[in-house]
Amino acid sequence: MKSATIQLETLTCPSCMQKIEGALKSLDGVDHDTVKVSFNSSKAKLDFDETKVSIEEIEDSIKRLGYEVIKSRVK
């Protein structure tokens, strides 16, 4: 299990959070309970299983929604 912090472009609508959260939770290998998207700091935090899903795939799922990923950090 690794944990990722993803800095997104500035989020402006609270419903953006729900969308991103939904997209992240739909990925196999992402721990659902740890997914947290914060509105004001425009960050997504989650734990994931690196054998099932890569950070690139996670980033892609966000980009596909039309949100830019500024940088992400995996620990």
């Binding site: 419903s15 969308k19 004001n40 700091s41 950090r73």
Partner: protein, 631 residues
């Protein structure tokens, strides 16, 4: 055009992304098209150009909204985008291109303005995170220093910090010296001198000099990293009210959708149904509270007040009682001679004897006495005898000199005259510790040593009272005399001395449970964590220590007392601001609904205009908090 749109809806991923990225240009373009349409209608009377430019503007404008709606529906969320898309489609269906174009334009333009203004409300916190160091000069195996990303610094690395650079991590100076501006950690902008062995903190700036440090805590573990994390978590923490609004809006938007369908089914009036969709958009209500919240927390962060979340803001703003955990919070914490009396002749010699004896002592009062006497030559001190709990007897320059308290004077058979006795009583009553000096059995000097009240504390306490704090209570481990002296000088409501940590927490528990007060506890966070946790609001003062940051609800970044009144004033202003925003949001919805029911002029475009206007109103109102200053 329609084909592209369908293509987009069916998931041309790159196309979707391209459209969303250029949302702002699309808004501009559709605005221009609308203007062209109306101009040609008024000047050339050309209905053809009018209609077609509005049709194109509608299709262009609805594309990004529809994409967002589609994405929301895919993750089972009925978002505002869904409402607007359906409304625009409805308007299209009844061939009201004028409304479909204007509504999409207003929605996109509003979103653009929202983003701009929201960035402003978040700017204070952004400033803070941007102070985080990004690179470091790290010593490699060959001894050279190479610039690396701060994330590549590990504990134990040796780093070089040059003049003007940020200290990249928390660590200890191993060589060199310089002065560091620690404003980012303590809020204090006076540079602090650092030399070998001094601790330095990430995010502080080396004003002059060059130092080498060994990294001890890196990244998010540094004090600065924790502060940033704390503030970021705080701004996104949700209060009970916000969670309610979230739950509410989750069901609210689908309910609006259903309502408009029901209205359409019964009235067969598409115009009315789609107007309901637009009026029902919950924008200002959803965004109003978080905006006040983030601006308030941002103002605090900028002024050295860390507020941990919105629950804290709401409790803090209703404060009844502040409890101070020790005299040191209100006093300088550095005892000094407050009063003195001389008796008889040869005082100058007596002062030299006193200084000579105190010079060799490490008693806390000795320092205060020496500071009072100032520069002087010291004489040799012989036959020193320390009497525990009483003082010192020694011979200086052939005289027998006794320095200590009243008990020592009695042991030495020093006669205390009426004047001296009266002085002693008076000094004690004022909370002084006494230092008496007798030369050859005769009392020469009486000094009263006590802790001084910090400058401006009195005015700050008055401000707190003005802000509605009813009780100011001191619970201290010091003796009752000292506590009473401080209490009297500052006119505290109550002051209790000789309190152990468990006594303090019991006292706070009683205030909260039996008297139903909302209590803040101001402490240093180390030995008083039970009280900090127990109080409604735990305030750690002169923060920066880990325990203080963990256990408290509010961290005051330095020990400047005025931060406390700023914090209280700020939370009150923030709580007020949130209420205003809720009022604006709910009020606007009510007015819109009423005018829909009882007036003729309401339509979709006006509805959207008012809706976007109310969102901007709550954001602008929230922004006022960034400039809040306690007067």
């Amino acid at each position: 055009m329609k084909k592209v749109f369908v293509n987009v809806m069916l998931g041309g991923g790159d196309m979707q992304r391209y459209i969303l990225k250029n949302k702002n240009s699309i808004a501009l373009l559709s605005g221009v098209l609308i203007a062209v349409g109306f101009l040609s209608k008024w000047t050339m009377d050309s209905m053809l150009i009018f209609t077609w430019s509005l049709i194109i503007a509608s299709i262009l404008g609805v594309a990004p909204i529809a994409i967002q709606a589609y994405q929301a529906l895919r993750v089972k969320v009925v978002s505002i985008d869904v409402l607007v898309t359906v409304a625009v489609a409805g308007a299209f269906l009844i061939r009201n291109y004028e409304e479909s174009a204007i509504v999409t334009f207003l929605f996109l333009f509003g979103a653009y303005l929202e983003q701009r203004t929201l960035n402003k409300t978040r700017s204070a916190i952004k400033e803070l995170t941007e102070m985080a160091p990004e690179s470091a000069l790290k010593q490699m195996e060959d001894g050279e220093f190479v610039e690396v990303d701060v994330e590549d610094v590990d504990v134990g690395d040796i780093l070089l910090v040059k003049t003007g650079a940020k200290v990249p991590v928390d660590g200890t100076v191993v060589s060199g010296e310089g002065s560091v501006n620690e404003a980012s950690i303590t809020g204090e902008s006076i540079p602090v001198a650092k030399e070998k062995g001094s601790k330095v903190f990430a995010g502080t700036i080396l004003d002059n000099g060059t130092i080498q440090i060994v990294a001890e805590r890196v990244g998010e573990d540094t004090t600065f990293g924790r502060i940033i994390e704390l503030v970021e978590e705080a701004q996104d923490s949700k209060s009970e009210a916000e969670r309610f609004i979230d739950r509410f809006s989750k069901y609210y938007t689908p309910a609006v959708l259903i309502l408009s369908i029901v209205v359409w089914l019964f009235s067969r009036d598409v115009e009315l149904a789609i107007t309901i969709l637009v009026l029902g958009c919950p924008g200002a209500l959803v965004i109003g509270v978080p905006v006040s919240h983030v601006a308030g927390i941002g103002n605090g962060a900028r002024n050295g007040v860390l507020l941990k979340g919105s629950e804290v803001i709401s409790d803090f703003s209703k404060l009844d009682t502040i409890v101070f955990d020790r005299t040191g919070t209100l006093t300088v914490g550095n005892p000094s001679v407050a009063e003195k009396e001389y008796y008889g002749d040869n005082i100058d010699e007596a002062l030299v004897y006193l200084a000579s004896i105190e010079h060799e002592s490490d008693h806390p009062l000795a320092k205060a006495v020496l500071e009072e006497i100032g520069e002087t030559a010291f004489l040799p001190v012989e036959n020193t005898e320390v009497i525990k709990g009483e003082g010192i007897v020694a011979s200086v320059d052939g005289h027998r000199v006794a320095v200590g308290n009243v008990a020592l004077m009695e042991r030495e058979n020093v006669e205390l005259k009426d004047k001296a006795k009266a002085d002693i009583d008076l000094f004690e009553e004022r909370g002084n510790s006494l230092v008496l000096t007798a030369v050859d059995g005769e009392l020469k000097i009486l000094m009263g040593v006590r802790d001084q009240i910090r400058p401006r504390v009195k005015e700050d306490l008055l401000k707190l009272k003005k802000l509605g704090v009813k009780n100011l209570i001191m619970l201290s481990g010091d003796n009752q005399g000292t506590v009473d002296a401080v209490s009297r000088e500052l006119s505290l409501t109550e002051a209790h001395g000789n309190m152990l940590p468990q006594d303090k927490s019991a006292y706070i528990k009683r205030l909260i449970e039996e008297e139903g007060q909302i209590v803040a506890f101001v402490g240093d966070g180390v030995n008083d964590s039970p009280s900090l946790a127990l109080a409604n609001i735990g305030i750690a003062m002169g923060g920066g220590t880990d325990v203080a940051i963990e256990t408290s609800d509010v961290v005051l970044m330095n020990s400047d007392f005025s931060r406390l009144s700023h914090a209280l004033g700020l939370t009150k202003a923030t709580a007020r601001n949130m209420k205003q925003n809720i009022f604006i949001a709910v009020g606007v919805v009510l007015v819109l609904l009423a005018s829909l029911l009882f007036s003729e002029w309401m339509n979709m475009s006006i509805g959207m205009l008012v809706h976007e206007g109310s969102i901007l109103a709550v954001i602008l109102n929230g922004m006022r908090l960034l400039r809040y200053k306690l007067r």
